[in-house]
């Protein structure tokens, strides 16, 4: 981003709200999959990874089963590498289990245009042939550019194009909160 400044507008979610949303999503995952058999969580780097770990922890608390968690780096699958001004750093993909036949739940912090999810689907499918792929996000801010719809949503937040949603997590940012910012 070379554009200038952001102004913090409003806190959309605090730590407590985030905890409740993740707990609800954990229940929904169990319900939708009629248990957790073959369910694996794959977080999209960067903030999808701690969210996937938290969901796995909630599910373990509820079901007593520890689900495998992987992390996916989708940098090499992006469709906008030639146009963005700053080039993202390529990180490792760490999926320590076979995705073939698994029921994969992709986890990300925010869904916006859907392009990140599209890249993640490609990246995942290159690793094998999952039985199903579902999508869990903490925030859905709208403005989809692709026919992609999340299966699990922590909170729907209607936004304008001038606004930016920032998810901060204890693991990466030292605090749990979601902030709506405005581009100045």
């Amino acid at each position: 981003m070379e554009t200038g400044k952001l102004r913090e507008k409003i806190q959309i979610m605090d730590a407590e709200a985030m905890r409740r949303a993740l707990t609800r999503i954990a229940h929904e995952i169990i319900e939708r999959n009629k248990g957790v058999e073959k369910v694996c969580l794959v977080g999209i780097r960067t903030r999808g990874v701690p969210l996937a770990n938290r969901l796995a922890e909630r599910i373990r608390e509820i079901e007593g089963t520890s689900l495998p968690v992987g992390s996916l780096d989708i940098t090499l699958y992006r469709d906008d590498l030639t146009t963005i001004a700053h080039q993202p750093v390529v990180h490792k993909t760490e999926v320590g289990f076979s995705v073939t036949g698994a029921r994969i739940v992709l986890v990300d912090d925010v869904i916006f245009t859907g392009r990140t999810t599209r890249a993640a689907l490609d990246a995942l499918i290159d690793l094998g042939r999952p039985q199903t792929i579902q999508l869990a996000v903490l925030i859905d801010r709208g403005h989809r550019e692709l026919p992609i719809r999340p299966d699990y949503v922590g909170k729907n937040v209607p936004t304008s194009q001038r606004e930016v949603v920032s998810v901060r997590l204890g693991e990466t940012d030292g605090v749990d909160e979601v902030i709506l910012n405005e581009l100045l």
Binding site: R78, T83, H86, Q87, V89, T113, L127, G174
Partner: protein, 352 residues
């Protein structure tokens, strides 16, 4: 969400006003950027040499290569990253390893790769490098990988084309991708550079591999010794911050890494050493001579090795030798470079 990551980085580090209004996190640590959000970006159009590259830039390449190397664990060795891009391998000198590893790197990244070698192009017909550059430009090459017997050829090409130029070896000047893969191998095996004792053995005078290694290793803080007969070790080499000696035993004592250069028979014909036999006797690396080196010494060779001349077969097969593993690292490093050099240069970010 990359955008969010970047904004987060911006938030945390760039904008002091925002930092002031934000409460400190409960644990008292200042908020840090998400792992992997680097302030450093790749800004160069070309990779012409390791001279002048910062330690941060080298580590960025090596980090990216480490991620790219994961492709070896995958069944489907293909990324769509460079789909629609054209990589031209322009080779004025024969090369198998370098050319094929660039070709694989390009193809695995989804690019179209064209190989132009001196036997198939108009190079043999006397077409100048400048003419060739114009042709490549007209064809829409995005990356040109050039190997040439003349030092400076990559520089010349880079000044003629908009495409990113990667120097795959120019005369006795530099061979930066070989240097980077050597650095990658050292980092992978040794985990550090600072204070590491690296000995480079052989024809330093004519070696572009030696020069690239020296630049990179010195930048990263390693101690470099070069050794070879006086005819192949230029006196001025010490001005690059390396130690020079003609005594192999002394050069190997306590070495953490030994990089063995290929000796070319044509040098003997030019009177630079009397015979391969004598060279092997004085400077060939054998298990016996290696005894004075560190116990876990890493043995490297840019390949292809003349077994029994600069390196004995026994040493080449030694578990401490990285000679075959270097090839995989070569593809990873070249994938990383293709990624970094084709990166976006547009002004506006696209919100994703």
């Amino acid at each position: 969400m990359f955008l969010d990551e970047l904004l987060q980085a911006f938030f945390n580090f760039v904008h002091p006003a925002l930092r002031r209004i934000r409460p400190k996190p409960p644990n008292g640590r200042p908020p840090r950027a998400a792992k992997g959000v680097r302030s450093l970006e790749w800004k160069r159009k070309d990779l012409l040499g390791l001279e002048g590259l910062s330690a941060e830039e080298i580590h960025l390449i090596l980090d990216t290569a480490e991620s790219c190397k994961q492709i070896y664990e995958r069944e489907i060795k293909k990324f769509p990253t460079l789909r629609g891009r054209t990589v031209v391998n322009l080779f004025y000198e024969p090369s198998t390893r370098t050319r094929t590893s660039f070709e694989l790197a390009g193809k695995w990244m989804g690019a179209d790769v064209i190989n132009v070698s001196s036997s198939t192009s108009s190079v043999a017909k006397g077409e100048s490098l400048r003419d060739t550059a114009r042709t490549l430009e007209a064809l829409g090459a995005d990356v040109v990988v050039i190997r040439h017997s003349a030092a400076g050829a990559a520089h010349q090409l880079a000044s003629e084309v908009r495409a990113a130029v990667i120097n795959a070896g120019d005369g006795a000047h530099e061979h930066p991708t070989q240097g980077l893969l050597d650095l990658y191998t050292i980092r992978e095996r040794k985990g550090r550079f600072a204070g590491l004792r690296v000995t480079i053995v052989g024809d330093i005078l004519h070696s572009r591999v030696a020069r690239s290694n020296i630049w990179g290793l010195r930048t990263l803080g390693a101690e470099v010794t070069v050794v070879g007969p006086p005819t192949l070790v230029p006196r001025e080499i010490t001005q690059l911050g390396v130690r020079a000696t003609h005594d192999l035993e002394e050069a190997l004592a306590g070495a953490d890494v030994v990089n063995i250069l290929r000796i070319q028979l044509e040098r003997q014909k030019k009177g630079l050493f009397p015979s391969l036999r004598e060279y092997a006797r004085l400077y060939g690396i054998t298990a016996e001579k290696l005894e004075s080196a560190g116990e876990d010494v890493l043995i490297m060779h840019p390949g292809p090795a003349n077994l029994g001349v600069e390196v004995s077969e026994e040493v080449a097969r030694d578990p401490r030798s990285a000679i075959s593993g270097q090839v995989q690292n070569g593809v990873a490093v070249r994938m990383a470079l293709l990624y970094l050099l084709t990166g976006g240069r547009a002004q506006d970010a696209v919100l994703g």
